[in-house]
């Protein structure tokens, strides 16, 4: 494989981090639990599930239109409070966001299975300051 076209712009030692993060370019939360190629399965307008290209197991998800979900449902019920080094931090719960997104669509077995699969992962939060 030839040299990566972006290698001259990056430095440091890569280290995979399985943590959710807010992508402002797509107004979405991306959560990937394994450093493997992703096969995307679009579930609905809010949720895309990531499957491993190696063995098809679920390795994460993308929650789309995050600010629209927050606007519609409000921070109450989506936010959790914590304290770090004496500073109070408000974060969004990814599970609460997924529940809100699920409520917004028509019920179907596939949706229910996919949302349940996404919610069953480790509890994740993202600081509100990263989103709003």
């Amino acid at each position: 494989m030839e040299k990566h076209f972006l290698n001259e712009y990056v430095t440091g030692e890569p280290e995979f981090r399985p943590e959710p993060w807010y992508n402002p370019h797509g107004d979405c939360i991306i959560y990937q639990t394994a450093d493997e190629a992703v096969v995307r399965e679009r579930v609905d307008e809010f949720l895309t599930v990531y499957h491993s290209a190696l063995d098809n197991r679920v390795i994460g998800y993308q929650i789309k239109d995050v600010t629209a979900i927050i606007k519609k449902f409000g921070l109450v019920g989506l936010a959790v409070q914590s304290e770090q080094n004496g500073t109070r931090i408000t974060s969004i719960s990814a599970s609460a966001l997924l529940l809100a997104a699920y409520e917004d669509g028509l019920p179907s077995l596939r949706r229910r299975e996919a949302y349940a699969e996404a919610i069953s992962g480790p509890a994740c939060t993202i600081p509100v300051s990263q989103i709003c």
């Binding site: 494989m1 990566h4 076209f5 972006l6 712009y9 990056v10 440091g12 890569p14 280290e15 995979f16 981090r17 943590e19 993060w21 992508n23 370019h25 797509g26 107004d27 979405c28 991306i30 990937q32 450093d35 493997e36 190629a37 992703v38 096969v39 995307r40 399965e41 679009r42 609905d44 307008e45 990531y50 290209a53 190696l54 993308q62 789309k64 239109d65 600010t67 629209a68």
Partner: protein, 139 residues
């Protein structure tokens, strides 16, 4: 001192496919993040560049609440499936690259190909998925 800059790719203009190519950017914060924390995704930015250079289909209207945006679809020859492992890109998949209204890449990956058009992702005709097919390659 300046930080890394957005990488500029040149691709088909969905609104004027026969005209000059437009610039679509890969944001510096996106590729830096993938380089640091998601190395396989970083490697597969090669596939993103390939698809933008050689799109087969372009769809418009990819979000319900964020208006605009495009999905460029293509088939790279190969891709990384885990660190250090490159394999041919599967025949039954397409590689999709999502571009926001500011013409910046924000998401990408493989998706199952449609049975009625193997250059499109599955469910491409569903109106709640895309607003429509904007352009298709004739080659």
């Amino acid at each position: 001192m300046t930080g890394p800059t957005n990488y500029k790719c040149h691709t088909v203009d969905p609104d004027n496919p026969m005209g000059p190519r437009i610039t679509v950017e890969i944001p510096a914060d996106l590729y830096t993040r993938f380089y640091k924390y998601n190395p396989v995704r970083y490697e597969n930015l090669r596939a993103v560049k390939h698809v933008l250079d050689n799109p087969r289909r372009i769809f418009w209207g990819v979000r319900k609440y964020n208006q605009g945006g495009w999905c460029y679809v293509g088939k790279p020859e190969e891709w990384y499936i885990k660190p250090g492992v490159v394999v041919p890109f599967p025949e039954n998949k397409v590689f999709t690259v999502y571009v926001n209204p500011l013409r910046r890449v924000y998401e990408y990956g493989a998706e199952p190909a449609a049975s009625d058009d193997p250059s499109c992702p599955i469910d491409w005709k569903s109106t709640d998925r895309y607003r429509g097919l904007k352009w298709k390659s004739t080659s």
